[in-house]
Symmetry: C2
């Protein structure tokens, strides 16, 4: 086995069928130094236990996935969503404190799609802006960065009304960059003719909270949510995107997050090794060897 | 049966299983005044016969579908593609002359995806620009407008490296607006946070060559190419988009182009009637009654 890139972080969704203990073990035992966690498996064991398990693993914590789903009209469901995001902020802060040196307190936010029966994209986008305004003080107090994730436009109606990096940066612009940043995920943004310019802008504005890589190929899976692939298995040019992210000043860990039934059916340790191999071949050549553990 | 909107045009792809004779009949017999044709059924009968059949139908001709697929490295295949586009330009001119008063000589262009084995989106996009440069003199001489169609970003790798209206307008900018314009198709552009601004820009720059409507809903079809629906059956806000197109000065016919196995399995006359009904309910309320037949 070759040594995984020191900047690689396994997003827990890549080994979705593993519980928290198994995910931490599969990651650490295979020489990967960092992990991004999901709320459900964390809450399955409870936050204090999860934090203790993470600390014992020796892994850096890179992101918590995920908050968001803000596109609800005002009312009980929206209040519940905001409250749930407040809990996610607390979880993020606790886990970042429990992770190894160099951990980052980043909560990934998926905006949410159109409310049932609605055709009002502009209105739904304003709901996202309003929710950020409500949550920003909590995030600031907790030392957590909210990382708005633009999702590929094929998810615009049912998952995320935020579709481009430029749009995410426009939403973030009202807030301090330490409180509201963006998630740059290659799968979601590679198609965008403006992506390199917007990555540079994100760097200038200090908003790159996390960089995530996975690959795109066609035909898309029948459930388009599950169309993500190991880096190198598709058509994404990781050279230009990764160089742009580094040139923009990003020095943190880089997550691989894959939703894919075949990957999920792979034994978790094996999936981690394949991820590390794909990352090593497709992404590592464009990275410098240094890690920001400030 | 209610009378179809006078600005409705049936794109032949909506009744894909009908040959040219059946398509013209299903359209005209149901009171629709205009049609957009596809190259394959036209060439099945031969261009002179197709032109004569179109003239006999009394229908306006709105677009010819389609040219493009330019993203090939220089060589024999690329030369063949350019030559084929020259034939498509001639077909467009001939059919527009054969159609009823108010016909328009518009050739819809789909850019093409990444060449086999390539990850170079920027390079593929330059191939499109180069092809436009080669074809523009032929289009100008024939009185044909090349209408670059941005396709939804989920098709970027296998079908069209032109993904946004802004990008299409940037490509068109080097050319006279009577020679190179854009296709605005609601399905492909509705998600774009910049779409209303870019429609206004397209109007200012005189580049709206055709406006096409169909709807989006999830889950997407297993073959995402076949996810298009009758206007009103999904989540697209035809009010804001149609008003923007009209405010931008577009006065022409409006096509409905649907790729959908269920629609294709419908008897063509019935599909035309359902299209007219959907259009009447979802689009007509936002139209003035006038048609530009200049």
């Amino acid at each position: 086995m070759t040594t995984p890139d020191p900047r690689l972080s396994i997003n827990q969704a890549t080994i979705k069928r593993a519980n928290l203990a198994a995910a931490l073990r599969a990651t650490a035992d295979n020489g990967v130094q960092a992990i991004g966690l999901w709320r459900e498996p964390v809450n399955e064991v409870g936050l204090p236990t999860a934090a203790s398990m993470l600390a014992d693993s020796g892994l850096r914590f890179t992101t918590h996935c995920r908050g968001g789903f803000f596109t609800l009209d005002e009312g009980r469901a929206r209040r519940a969503a905001i409250d749930d995001n407040r809990r996610a902020i607390e979880e993020t802060a606790t886990l970042a404190a429990a992770g190894a040196d160099g951990s980052t307190a980043v909560l990934v936010l998926v905006a949410g799609g159109l409310p049932e029966g609605s055709r009002d994209l502009a209105g739904a986008r304003e709901c996202v802006r309003d929710a950020l305004g409500e949550l920003a003080p909590d995030a600031a107090a907790a030392g957590v960065t909210l990382a708005i994730e633009p999702l590929h436009p094929m998810y615009v109606s049912d998952r995320a009304v935020v579709s481009t990096l430029g749009q995410a940066l426009d939403l973030a612009a009202d807030f301090d960059p330490s409180v509201v940043g963006v998630t740059i995920d290659t799968f979601h943004v590679f198609w965008d003719p403006q992506v390199l310019d917007q990555i540079a802008r994100a760097g200038r504005e200090g908003r790159i909270a996390t960089y995530q890589v996975c690959d795109w190929k066609t035909p898309l899976a029948a459930d388009v949510l599950l169309s993500r692939h190991y880096p190198g298995d598709g058509v994404i040019d990781f050279a230009s995107l990764t160089r742009a992210v580094l040139d923009a000043g990003y020095t943190g860990d880089i997550e691989v997050e894959i939703f894919n039934e075949d990957v999920w059916a792979t034994e978790p340790g094996e999936a981690v090794r394949r991820t590390a191999a794909g990352f090593g071949a497709a992404v590592s050549p464009w990275l410098s060897a240094t890690i920001d553990s400030a």
